[in-house]
């Protein structure tokens, strides 16, 4: 399903949570909405899920208003809450029938989806006894149960342990080819795995909208990253004296050497090291910043 967000603004009493935000998500695209706490991610997601009204602007799904498309949307709130007296199975049965799926179909689908989210043993347990992570899994199950064509998830994996996170990410990868996915997160590693496009939001405004490659490429540095054996660290002092080396600095467990022309100078540096009988454990040309660094440079005020 194609999702269009047109110039959406939402003001609360003292704060503008979302400020003239627009974007278009094409069919079967996966978009990660990232931003620091309080940036307006959840507000925007609630507006898309039709829980909040936008003060201005509109949300359009395949050219239609969202209220006509509700059975095609899977929504996972940040803190999914269910009736504590219902069992996991009954909860899915309840949510499923509300979406207009027949009982017979549900009795077939529910055990499958419970297995997929890792709750098959808890099918007959009361939701009231569930931990936060188990509720999150149940939340994901209910969002996927009716096979929606648009899935909106608010922090889908933040509350999960590494096993649960892996299971959910695999689940999302599985349905990705035929589903439009919008998920918000502040854990970039997760979004990086399934989404190919990122939208960065800060103070309610869109400050970046790019594919993963674009983001990473933009911040590639002309530097050489190397890790040396301890005995050879003295060599770096000589390196710093070399005419083509601009700067040597500590970086992670090794050093970053800024040079004038990476390709040519890397070869010269390597030759120099061989002459001096220096052993590297790692030699990398062109230091890539991680997505996390990119994110930090985007959102942190200098």
């Amino acid at each position: 399903m194609r999702l269009e967000i047109n110039n959406v603004t939402k003001k609360f009493k003292h704060k503008t949570a979302v400020n003239h935000f627009s974007m278009v998500i094409e069919e079967n695209e996966c978009v990660g909405l990232i931003g620091p706490n309080g940036a307006g991610k959840s507000t925007l997601i609630q507006i898309i899920a039709d829980i909040l009204y936008a003060d201005e602007g509109s949300i359009v799904l395949d050219g239609q208003n969202i209220s006509k498309k509700k059975n095609q949307i899977g929504y996972l709130p940040q803190y999914p809450n269910f009736y504590s007296w219902m069992t996991a199975y009954d909860t899915l049965l309840f949510m499923g029938t509300l979406s207009g799926i027949s009982k017979n179909q549900l009795h077939k689908d529910i055990p499958l989806i419970l297995t997929k989210v890792g709750l098959s043993k808890e099918a007959q347990s009361k939701v009231g006894a569930f931990s936060g992570g188990m509720k999150q899994r149940l939340g994901i199950a209910q969002a996927l149960l009716h096979k929606p064509t648009l899935i909106i998830m608010d922090e889908p994996v933040s509350a999960l342990d590494p096993i649960g996170r892996r299971e959910v990410l695999n689940l999302l990868k599985e349905i990705k080819s035929e589903t439009t996915i919008l998920l918000s997160t502040h854990i970039l590693g997760d979004a990086e795995e399934i989404c190919e496009r990122f939208v960065v939001i800060k103070d309610g405004q869109k400050i970046e909208d790019a594919t993963k490659e674009q983001l990473l490429h933009r911040n590639q540095e002309s530097a050489i990253y190397l890790v040396l054996q301890k005995d050879d660290v003295d060599w770096l002092e000589k390196v710093a004296q070399l005419p083509y080396v601009k700067k040597v600095e500590n970086y992670e467990e090794g050093f970053k050497i800024h040079v004038e022309q990476v390709q040519v100078d890397a070869y010269r540096l390597l030759q120099n090291a061989i002459d001096q009988k220096i052993a590297f454990t790692k030699f990398e040309i062109g230091v890539k910043e991680s997505l996390e660094d990119t994110f930090l440079t985007l959102v942190v005020d200098v």
Partner: protein, 259 residues
């Protein structure tokens, strides 16, 4: 299955799990029993305690008729403690789901606000009517046993009239539950407003047309005199309009996401 049926079924299961379906009828049964038993034994109790200066039991005082006893069950038991208990039982009908986010969550599904509100009011009204019926039958049984029989047609008509007042009570509490976020405020405002309605009923016949509590008085009047009283059609019309108005207000409130 349509969403109204699914939601009503869920409400019903919740009432069963919370034992509401058990304790509410029991409380009403006790309330219903209290009136005839108290009216029957109170003179004897006072007499046997005896010796209290200043209390005088008139031996010539006529034993009340069954009709009067049943009418006073409605007036002094159900209309006081009964209303308060119904308010307490129904006060978080929507407030609880606003607080834990279930209302917003349910509305992300293809569920209309009408079927949501409809299921809430219908199930809670049915429970209230059921509880009232249990209490009323208990009271009727003891009244006939201890006092005198009451014509069954009058008993049923009075019950039907009282159920109209009950529908107003449930809708009113549901409406406040939609507006406010604190159960205490909902209970307090409901109790004050509904008891006030009941208090001013009977002051003036014109005022009674606009007062849904008028149906409580009409129920007792049917029992005692056999007459529904004047202008009951207008009273009925006004009551239905008020209930309709309250329902539309709730619908608007939820549609505008003011919760």
């Amino acid at each position: 299955m349509n969403t109204f049926a699914v939601l009503s079924k869920k409400e019903f299961s919740q009432m069963v799990k919370e034992y509401k379906i058990l304790w509410l009828p029991i409380v009403f049964m006790l309330l219903g029993l209290t009136q005839p038993i108290m009216m029957y034994y109170l003179p004897m109790i006072l007499k046997s305690l005896g010796g209290v200066e200043g209390i005088m039991i008139d031996p010539t005082m006529a034993k009340p008729e069954g009709q009067e006893v049943l009418a006073s069950t409605l007036n002094s038991q159900f209309d006081q403690l009964g209303i308060i208990i119904i308010i307490v039982a129904a006060m978080s009908v929507i407030q609880a789901e606003k607080a834990n986010g279930m209302l917003a969550f349910i509305l992300t599904r293809p569920v209309s606000i009408s079927s949501y509100l409809g299921s809430k009011i219908a199930t809670h009204y049915l429970l209230a009517v059921f509880s009232l019926a249990i209490g009323y039958i208990a009271s009727y049984g003891y009244t006939v046993f201890l006092f005198s029989p009451v014509p069954i047609s009058q008993v049923i008509l009075a019950f039907a009239l009282y159920c109209l007042w009950l529908l107003f009570i449930i809708t009113f509490v549901t409406m406040l539950s939609t507006f406010f976020n604190s159960p205490a405020v909902i209970a307090l405002v409901s109790i004050v407003m509904l008891l006030l309605c009941r208090l001013i009923a009977g002051l003036h016949p014109v005022l009674d047309i606009f007062n849904p509590a008028g149906f409580s008085l009409r129920a007792s009047s049917v029992l005692i005199t056999g007459s529904v009283g004047a202008w009951w059609e207008l009273n009925l019309l006004v009551t239905f309009l008020v209930i309709l108005g309250m329902t539309l207000t709730m619908h608007y409130w939820i549609a505008k996401k003011k919760f």
